[in-house]
């Protein structure tokens, strides 16, 4: 692959495991997942709670909390495998080439340190600024993320901020890093609806300004539709579908994605769409290049008793996790 076409972030066959409480064997929470994020691209990562979204995101900065660990796979940031880096190389990636904002902004700030010091130390540390310059840069950055009265906020402690304010501070910290890749892990969880909209607007605005790549994890399909170019759908630790955002909403293929998209409330319809009702989603049969596949919701794989699943490209840039169905002639033989 040439320099030009190399994606900024390529996750290849990633598996992450946590030890089983009873016998200590590794139980995978993310299995064999592969996707890419290109430069200046906004990719959404969706799926229900526990589907492995956050674990996937954390592993990109190698923040998987022990005893969890990456079992298999590669995470390439501009061609460099993050999983193979030593501590010094890793610290040059974190807060520099890639940064992350977290689900709970208020607990993500050190309760005993003023906001000014927490933002300022990124400047002194990553940019080698003098203390005074770092202080000025901090105020400027706080202003840029829409904080009125930055001096007052810089002097306060995290517990004195509202959730929305704290998330703005987190965004300011991330921006101070000036990363090529930003991972935002449900950045508006626990915020008021109006504040949520403001935070997403801010993130989107910054992305358009800086052209950084953004991997956005959220439950909010409305936000996905508005902000993202491509979407990665996860279910129970598996990536089940990757599609351009329009395709995903107009023509979802995988049964889980159909259910997910079908669950969007449509005020213009009087009844829930058929997809939102019931739990039963039949496997979808696909024909690609003469081969037959069936896409099965991950929670019913056991009952279907199928072989090894693979990502099948049903259209350019549109991949679905499916199992090969043997051709009838071979089945006879």
């Amino acid at each position: 692959m040439t320099e030009m076409h190399r994606p900024l972030l390529a996750i290849e066959h990633l598996s992450i495991g946590f030890p089983n409480e009873r016998d200590g064997t590794m139980h995978p929470v993310v299995r064999d997942s592969s996707f890419v994020v290109n430069r200046n691209e906004v990719v959404g990562l969706v799926g229900e709670s526990g589907s492995g979204k956050t674990q996937t995101a954390m592993s990109v900065l190698r923040l998987t909390k022990p005893p969890g660990q990456v079992l298999h796979g590669r995470i390439l940031l501009d061609g460099d495998d993050i999983l193979q880096m030593n501590d010094i190389q890793l610290r040059q990636v974190r807060g520099n080439r890639a940064a992350m904002i977290f689900q709970s902004p208020r607990t993500s700030l050190n309760p005993l340190m003023t906001i000014g010091n927490q933002v300022g130390r990124i400047y002194t540390r990553q940019r080698g600024m003098k203390k005074k310059d770092a202080g000025d840069a901090t105020l400027e950055m706080l202003r840029r993320v829409g904080i009125a009265g930055p001096a007052r906020v810089a002097a306060s402690y995290p517990h004195q901020l509202s959730g929305g304010m704290a998330q703005r501070v987190m965004i300011a910290m991330m921006l101070a890093c000036d990363p090529e890749l930003l991972i935002a892990d449900e950045p508006t969880t626990g915020l008021d609806v109006t504040i949520q909209a403001q935070i997403f607007e801010l993130i989107q605005e910054i992305q358009q300004e800086t052209h950084m790549a953004l991997l956005l994890i959220t439950h909010d399909l409305g936000v996905i539709a508005e902000v993202c170019q491509r979407v990665v759908v996860m279910q129970l630790g598996r990536i089940v579908e990757i599609a351009p955002v329009d395709t995903l909403f107009a023509d979802p293929v995988h049964p889980y994605t159909r259910r997910l998209v079908g669950s969007i409330l449509r005020p213009d319809l009087e009844v829930l769409p058929a997809a939102a009702r019931g739990n039963d989603f039949p496997p979808v049969v696909l024909e690609v290049g003469g081969d037959r596949y069936q896409a099965v919701s991950v929670d019913s794989w056991r009952s279907v008793n199928v072989g090894r699943p693979e990502m099948v490209e049903v259209a350019p840039g549109h991949q679905v996790l499916a199992h090969a169905v043997d051709a009838p002639s071979e089945a006879v033989a």
Partner: protein, 338 residues
């Protein structure tokens, strides 16, 4: 709420607690078995003499009046007369408190100075063999009987190898005590640059300090380890990591201060225990401190002295708690407004 208002409010609460302590000590003396008059007058005193003494001691008055008199005396610093030493209890305790304080502070510094780094080290190597070893050490430390350890140390270091000085008091008899400045021998001899005294005082301190610090090291190890693990697992440490800060920077700038906040309470409790609870160690090493004094007072039915001891220890506890709370407000910004 401003800091000064907070301090005022806490002080007011402390005053109420102290009043309760005084009343409790007063009542305790009335329920204790034995009659103070008999003790004071001696076994062979006639009933007339006893009655006279009873009136003299104010014990014929109704209880509330006695209580009022007692509170008045205590507030004026009058804790009564020791029947054993012949001095006022106030003099006796004033003399012995710094002796105990020196031993307690030295033990606190040694126990904390070793226990806290050990606990933090264990947390940083969570799950390793070293972690398990340090936890074993904490259990061993908590399970060691203080009198046994003290005697073993005396046997080995004094009787067997003769490295340590005789376990009798703070100074050898042929060594001149330093000029009194802080009442702490070690500090005073250092301030007056009196090396001979300093070395002798330090020598006498070593064994009792080792004995006490081994015993109180356990809570430091355990609390430091637990709170460090807590802090390391918290969101803001993950966030700091994601910003590219090194482990050393994270531990120094983020983790330690948060751990110290949690260790303040332990330090307060341990210091309180050291000031009040080392009767055994002071007796073994003939250390002329509060514990030794209390032991003698108890065995000699020296009622005023016992009351004085209990009162002073209770007051120390109350003030320690007050200072720990105060230290919290200075370190943790969340408490000031709460």
């Amino acid at each position: 709420m401003s800091l000064s208002r907070y301090i005022l409010r806490r002080l007011a609460l402390t005053a109420i607690t102290l009043l309760g302590v005084i009343i409790a000590v007063f009542l305790m003396a009335r329920v204790l078995p034995g009659d103070p008059v008999t003790v004071k007058a001696g076994q062979y005193a006639t009933p007339e003499i006893k009655e006279q003494l009873r009136i003299q001691m104010g014990l014929d008055k109704p209880l509330p009046q006695q209580l009022a008199t007692y509170i008045g005396n205590v507030l004026q610093g009058d804790l009564g007369q020791s029947t054993r030493s012949g001095h006022t209890v106030r003099e006796d305790i004033g003399q012995r408190l710094p002796v105990t304080l020196e031993l307690a502070l030295a033990s606190l510094i040694v126990a904390g100075g070793i226990g806290i780094p050990l606990g933090i080290y264990a947390a940083l190597h969570h799950g390793s063999k070293r972690d398990a070893g340090i936890q074993q050490l904490a259990i061993f430390s908590a399970a060691t009987p203080v009198f046994w350890l003290g005697l073993v140390l005396i046997y080995l270091f004094y009787a067997r190898w003769n490295i340590a000085p005789a376990p009798v008091g703070q100074l050898s008899t042929n060594v001149e005590p330093p000029r009194t400045i802080t009442h702490l021998l070690l500090v005073d001899s250092l301030l007056t640059l009196n090396w001979t005294t300093f070395k002798d005082a330090a020598g006498h301190l070593i064994l009792p300090v080792i004995t006490l610090s081994v015993v109180v090291m356990s809570p430091f190890i355990k609390m430091a380890r637990t709170s460090m693990l807590n802090v390391l697992g918290s969101d803001y440490i993950t966030a700091a990591r994601s910003l590219g800060l090194s482990d050393r920077e994270i531990i120094r700038q983020d983790a330690l201060k948060n751990v110290m906040v949690q260790l303040l309470t332990v330090s307060g409790i341990v210091l309180g225990y050291l000031l009040a609870g080392n009767v055994l160690v002071e007796t073994i090493f003939a250390w002329p401190g509060l514990g030794f004094y209390a032991w003698n007072a108890l065995t000699g039915s020296d009622y005023d002295a016992i009351q004085g001891f209990v009162l002073v220890v209770a007051v120390i506890y109350v003030f320690l708690n007050f200072f720990v709370d105060l230290a919290y407000t200075l370190i943790d910004p969340r408490i000031r407004l709460a």
